[in-house]
């Protein structure tokens, strides 16, 4: 993996062309830097997560990648085009702030969104009916948007994003506002798109979705990208955690534990020592600690995210740079 650009190959042995390449994207609003030198390389066919806390610069980055706003500096190549609007037909976009015309019927709303991307209206209407039927909204085909529940309207907008069969789908916080069942359905839908070769990029601040779905992620914090790469690599950024349970609570074996060891209930937890587990186990056995259980747990993406995003925040505060805009 190239850490400078965040480039990675999602499937070993393949050299898929990049769906998106961005170099040093910078965006300022009223003199405040919202996005500060973002580099990204997202291969075709990948499911890619843009992770970041609220206000980190995710939406601004996505808007620049889609050509909704232009970067002040840097360049982006989307599906081979330097101007993303030149390939708008091949892109589907679900913005974070959902919106549909309330008086439009569900199938008309989907067909309209397809028409904006070049799908003939009649064809769009037929596909809209089909999509609504397939996603359990057959009964709502002729209903006005204002008559639908929030979840149903959100599904209609998602289908409108996909009706023209885009090659690249960009979803900004797609899981927000959905209940657990619909979140599960959306995960299935995203996997289905990727299986057909569609590149899916989504932003989220809920790490579990990215952990389950993504092959690659970029963490944005304070307008910067401190990490871009495989999910595994992000997790490897922080050492594995040892979880130890002993029969004896006191004894000389305690001195064998690393300095960062913390007692949580009946367990001791600490980072896996750089020297490995063997010297530690030997010391515990010789010190008659009475090992009841000993496990090594790999760090989760959530822990990695908090560590990486926190690093940037700390650096920003030292440097006195804006870290919470955009």
């Amino acid at each position: 993996m190239d850490m400078a650009t965040g480039d990675f190959s999602p499937r070993e042995g393949t050299s898929a062309p990049m769906a998106i390449e961005a170099h040093n994207l910078i965006k300022r609003f009223d003199g405040t830097t919202a996005v500060d030198g973002v580099d990204l390389a997202i291969p075709t066919g990948a499911i890619y997560g843009i992770l970041g806390p609220n206000g980190a610069g995710k939406t601004t980055t996505l808007r620049m990648l889609l050509g909704i706003i232009d970067p002040d500096e840097g360049e982006r190549i989307v599906l081979g085009a330097s101007n993303p609007q030149d390939v708008a037909r091949y892109i589907g976009y679900l913005p974070e702030e959902r919106g549909l015309y309330p008086a439009m019927k569900a199938y008309e709303a989907i067909a309209f969104m397809g028409a904006l991307r070049g799908l003939p209206l009649q064809q769009g209407r037929e596909k809209a009916r089909e999509l609504l039927e397939n996603h359990g909204l057959g009964h709502a085909v002729d209903r006005q948007i204002r008559q639908l529940s929030k979840g149903m309207a959100q599904t209609v907008q998602l289908l409108g994003t996909l009706v023209h069969e885009p090659k690249l789908v960009v979803l900004d916080e797609p899981f927000s506002g959905l209940d657990a069942i619909n979140q599960g359905k959306l995960e299935v839908l995203i996997r289905g798109l990727a299986d057909k070769g569609t590149t899916v990029i989504f932003s989220t601040h809920v790490i579990s979705h990215a952990e389950r779905l993504c092959e690659g992620i970029a963490i944005i914090a304070g307008g910067k990208v401190p990490f871009a790469g495989r999910v595994d690599e992000a997790r490897d950024r922080i050492p594995a955690q040892v979880r130890l349970e002993t029969r004896r609570r006191e004894g000389g074996w305690l001195s064998a534990l690393p300095q960062d060891a913390r007692r949580v209930g009946d367990f001791w937890t600490f980072a896996l020592p750089e020297t490995g587990v063997e010297p530690l186990l030997k010391a515990l056995i010789e010190g008659e600690a009475g090992i009841l259980s000993f496990s090594i747990e790999r760090a989760g993406l959530h822990d990695a995210f908090v560590a990486i995003a926190g690093e940037v925040a700390a650096k920003d505060m030292v440097a006195g740079e804006p870290g919470d805009e955009a």
Binding site: R63, L79, A81, V87, A88, G99, Q157
Partner: protein, 425 residues
């Protein structure tokens, strides 16, 4: 990616504008607002009719100024008979006369006191005799009636006022009459153009509020150029107005035809009726697109309907100023005002539609329409850029930054996950 495939990768500007226009047109056409839009011109008509009725009533109440006679009974009678005889020849220029009082030869009559004390329509008093009449009135009335009272007195005296018979030959028109009538046609066309555009302007002003309110603007901005959104919205309203004009025009045509009015009653415009109608339609479209582009831009800067309402007042004032400038050019052809009116894009359609009524030449219209079309393109481009820059701007919330700094790194990360900061994205 080759240029060819890039072109295929997005909707052409006009096609994208058509998608937006089709949606807007359908949405407006089948909305309740469209009914009110159609009824829109009815309100000024009703107001005008009511105002006319009230005015007529006031006029009727005020009556016509009257000249009172205070001479001997015979002289009064002679004066009234002479007045009636002259009125047949001179028409309404001769004021009504009535006997105030018969005054004996040795009696004096205070005409000034009578005028001061009297109520009603008495405006002047004639005393003395037909041989030596005395007119008492205000200065303006004396200037108006002195000569006529003299003629009436002469007629009453029995002096012959034989006028030679004037032979007449009727012509269809004269230069002065034609010019005067064409000025009326020009003014009428300007007023009609102004009313139609003003009717649409308020609707255009609030046109983008729906998209902003519904958050759909980002979907549009991601898919098609903002120029296309602007153009689509403008042309949708133009199409709506065409439907409206067809309905209003048909209704007005039926009403006027039933009332016996036809185009022949209005002076023939300089370019002829068919070309005038075509030019009127073109100038209406240009005038609407020019003002509409500006209003759409102004409206797009507003965040709420309330802001739009606040903006509508200066926008309406601007329209009225432009109309005044254009009105001045009707009778100032060839002067600097005329040139400024033609060159200033917003007044150009109004000035040129008046020119179409006044002059025969067509080439100035070709130049004017080309200039106006260029201005429409510039206005739309500038408006779209301003809109895109403002609407798609994320903003920082500076106050929050300092708070997070005091919390330390952990607090910062926790704070970033809090709901409050979502608004900054």
């Amino acid at each position: 990616m080759t240029a060819r495939s890039q072109t295929a990768g997005r909707l052409p500007l006009l096609q994208a504008a058509y998608v937006v226009a089709r949606r807007d047109f359908t949405a407006i056409l089948f909305s309740r607002a469209f009914i009110f839009f159609l009824l829109g011109p009815l309100f000024p008509v009703v107001v005008m009719v009511l105002a006319g009725g009230v005015g007529a009533q006031v006029q009727q109440g005020s009556g016509i100024a009257n000249v009172g006679l205070a001479m001997s009974a015979e002289d009064n009678h002679a004066m009234i008979t002479a007045r009636d005889a002259l009125a047949k020849r001179l028409g309404p220029a001769v004021p009504p006369m009535s006997e105030l009082r018969s005054v004996a030869s040795d009696e004096t009559f205070d005409a000034a006191a009578t005028l001061q004390e009297s109520e009603g329509q008495l405006a002047a008093v004639v005393t003395g005799t037909p041989a030596a009449p005395h007119l008492t009135a205000t200065e303006g009335s004396i200037g108006r009636w002195q000569g006529i009272v003299g003629m009436i007195a002469a007629q009453a005296e029995g002096q012959s006022l034989d006028y030679p018979a004037v032979a007449t030959s009727t012509v269809a028109s004269s230069a002065a009459a034609r010019n005067s009538a064409r000025i009326h046609t020009a003014q009428g066309a300007q007023v009609l153009l102004f009313l139609l555009i003003m009717l649409l302007a308020s609707m255009v002003l609030s046109n983008l509020v729906e998209e902003k309110g519904n958050k759909i603007i980002e979907v549009l901005a991601a898919a098609i150029p903002m120029d296309a959104v602007f153009l689509g919205k403008l042309f949708a309203m133009l199409a709506i107005s065409v439907v409206g004009i067809l309905v209003w025009g048909s209704t007005a045509g039926i009403v006027l035809t039933a009332g016996g009015v036809s185009l022949a009653d209005i002076a023939m415009p300089g370019v002829g009726w068919p070309m005038f109608i075509v030019l009127f339609a073109l100038y209406f479209a240009m005038g609407y697109l020019l003002l509409g582009a500006i209003f759409l831009t102004i409206g797009s800067q507003a965040k709420t309907v309330r802001e739009v309402q606040t903006l509508s007042m200066p926008a309406t004032m601007l329209q009225i100023l432009v109309f005044f400038l254009a009105s001045l050019t009707v009778t100032n052809s060839g002067g600097w005002i005329d040139f400024a009116g033609r060159a200033f894009p917003l007044s150009s359609p109004f000035v040129m539609v008046a020119r179409a009524a006044m002059d025969e030449s067509l080439w100035p219209h070709v130049v004017a329409l080309a200039w106006q079309a260029l201005c429409v393109a510039v206005f739309v481009r500038v408006g779209a850029r301003m809109f895109r820059k403002r609407v798609m701007k994320s903003g920082p919330q500076g106050a929050k930054k300092g708070v997070e700094r005091r919390r330390g790194p952990a607090g910062f990360v926790r704070g970033l996950f809090s709901k409050g900061s979502a608004a900054t994205r």
